[in-house]
């Protein structure tokens, strides 16, 4: 195929080729280092010392766990397991989850995603969430409360968290704290045949880009 390459076409071709090379090179570098870069290349990491069980109902056993290697060292600070056993009607378990911006860029939360299994013996519709989201700033001198929620069902949890955190700036070294309370329905009869629940939340952190607010007055 023959065609004339004008001045503007050449610029376009150059831009496309540049992007291709950039994308390929980044992906190749990322794939090569993936196995060893879980801690070194993360934008946000969990702070294990500040991830804990805050409160439980009597008899409820709760704990937070991280993936560890054979020496007992935490091998992945982007994955946490919140466990609550022996729950019953009216019981609750409250957790604190703290994550810190360890990158060189300002971050934000793009969204929270939720996954859970729905089965006949699932407790999914018997659990409600309350919580507070805080940000700890300036070397932990003080914190701001970004938002809170109460009596949110499991299916609404991701949207509520997204609404609180989306577009919020997380500067370097700042910490995001989520205090999450799992409260179970008070009606014992509803627990007939229900024994367990497993769900996963996936907060997605992205680079922060300021909103275009220079020409519009600041809202409250």
């Amino acid at each position: 195929m023959r065609f004339k390459i004008g001045k503007y076409k050449s610029l376009l071709v150059f831009a496309v080729v540049s992007l291709i090379i950039m994308g390929l090179s980044y992906n190749m570098a990322g794939a090569q280092d993936f196995r060893n870069s879980a801690l070194a290349y993360n934008l946000m990491v969990l702070v294990p010392e500040e991830c804990e069980v805050l409160d439980t109902s009597p008899g409820v056993l709760a704990d937070v766990e991280f993936q560890r290697d054979k020496f007992g060292n935490i091998s992945d600070k982007t994955n946490i397991n919140l466990m609550a056993t022996n729950v019953y009607a009216g019981a609750h378990a409250e957790f604190r989850i703290t994550a810190q911006n360890v990158s060189d860029i300002t971050l934000s939360v793009d969204e929270y995603k939720l996954e859970f299994e729905q089965s006949e013996d699932s407790l999914a519709d018997l659990i409600y969430f309350s919580g507070i989201v805080k940000i700890i700033r300036y070397g932990e001198q003080y914190y701001d409360e970004l938002g809170s929620f109460e009596n949110v069902s499991l299916t609404e949890l991701d949207d509520n968290l997204t609404a609180i955190l989306k577009y919020r700036k997380i500067d370097l070294k700042e910490k995001i704290v989520l205090e999450l309370n799992q409260q179970f329905d008070n009606d014992q009869a509803k627990f007939a045949g229900r024994t367990n629940l497993s769900y996963r939340l996936f907060p997605v952190f992205v680079q922060y880009f300021p909103q275009n607010d220079k020409t519009t007055p600041e809202s409250e």
């Binding site: 065609f3 076409k9 376009l12 071709v13 831009a15 496309v16 992007l19 291709i20 950039m22 994308g23 992906n27 990322g30 934008l43 946000m44 969990l46 109902s57 009597p58 008899g59 982007t78 994955n79 946490i80 397991n81 919140l82 466990m83 609550a84 056993t85 022996n86 729950v87 019953y88 009607a89 009216g90 019981a91 378990a93 989850i97 994550a99 793009d110 995603k113 407790l123 659990i127 799992q182 008070n186 014992q188 009869a189 627990f191 007939a192 045949g193 229900r194 024994t195 367990n196 629940l197 497993s198 769900y199 996963r200 939340l201 996936f202 907060p203 997605v204 952190f205 992205v206 680079q207």
Partner: protein
């Protein structure tokens, strides 16, 4: 037209690659959460009939020993004392159903005036959840309108004699058993022994003559202890 298509294709390719590049600057955490209920199981067992005493001297004290003529009847000596040895049966907890354990106590007794039957029932919470005082329901068996039942003097854990007659008396007995069991701590720490004494007084009159035997049954439903309602 060819030039336009080429430009469009190039733009699409560039956008795709920009997306891929942008995705590299994002990160996803995983917050896993697992929740499970505990196990509710109360084991009921019985020591069976621990004593059957015949008040041979008619003094109403049912004391066996030196200087006493009252006799502790055994299955082997029941015939000689013109008794059918009483029975008690317990049904262990059933964990099917709504987070409850169902247990059952069934008695068959055959007494004449001046006989006392003592039995012990054990309750042990082997589950992982604390239980409340059980909810009881009583099945009357053959007792309704039965003079033998109405004359029977029954005590639970040495308390006051169960009052009432017929079904009311049986309901009161069931409530007394439930109160004696009470709430039970989990993991084997919660245990209760209930001693039930049934006596047909020697003063029982002709209305109980020729009464063969009676049976009664109490069902206990154990439910989880709930801090918010207790």
């Amino acid at each position: 037209m060819k030039r336009t298509k080429f430009v469009l294709l190039a733009l699409v390719a560039a956008m795709i690659l920009m997306g891929a590049g942008y995705a590299a600057w994002s990160q996803t955490f995983t917050i896993n959460s697992t929740v499970s209920t505990g196990e509710l199981f109360v084991m009921i067992s019985d020591e069976g009939i621990t004593s059957v005493i015949v008040d041979k001297d008619g003094d109403g004290d049912y004391v066996v020993g030196a200087g006493e003529t009252d006799e502790n009847v055994t299955p082997a000596t029941a015939d000689a004392n013109y008794l059918v040895y009483p029975t008690v049966a317990t049904t262990a907890g059933d964990t099917s159903g709504a987070n409850t354990t169902l247990a059952k106590i069934e008695y068959t007794i055959d007494l004449y005036p001046g006989t006392q039957v003592t039995s012990e029932i054990n309750f042990e919470n082997l589950g992982t959840i604390k239980t409340k005082q059980p909810v009881v329901s009583a099945t009357s068996g053959t007792i309704i309108g039965d003079d033998l039942w109405d004359d029977l003097v029954i005590t639970v854990n040495g308390g006051a004699a169960i009052d009432g007659a017929g079904q009311d008396k049986l309901n009161n007995l069931a409530d007394a058993i439930a109160a004696a069991v009470g709430a039970l701590e989990p993991n084997g720490d919660g245990e209760a022994t209930v001693t039930i004494v049934q006596e047909l007084p020697i003063t029982s009159g002709n209305e109980t003559e020729n009464k063969e035997s009676l049976d009664w049954e109490v069902e206990l439903t154990f439910e989880q202890y709930n801090d918010l309602t207790e």
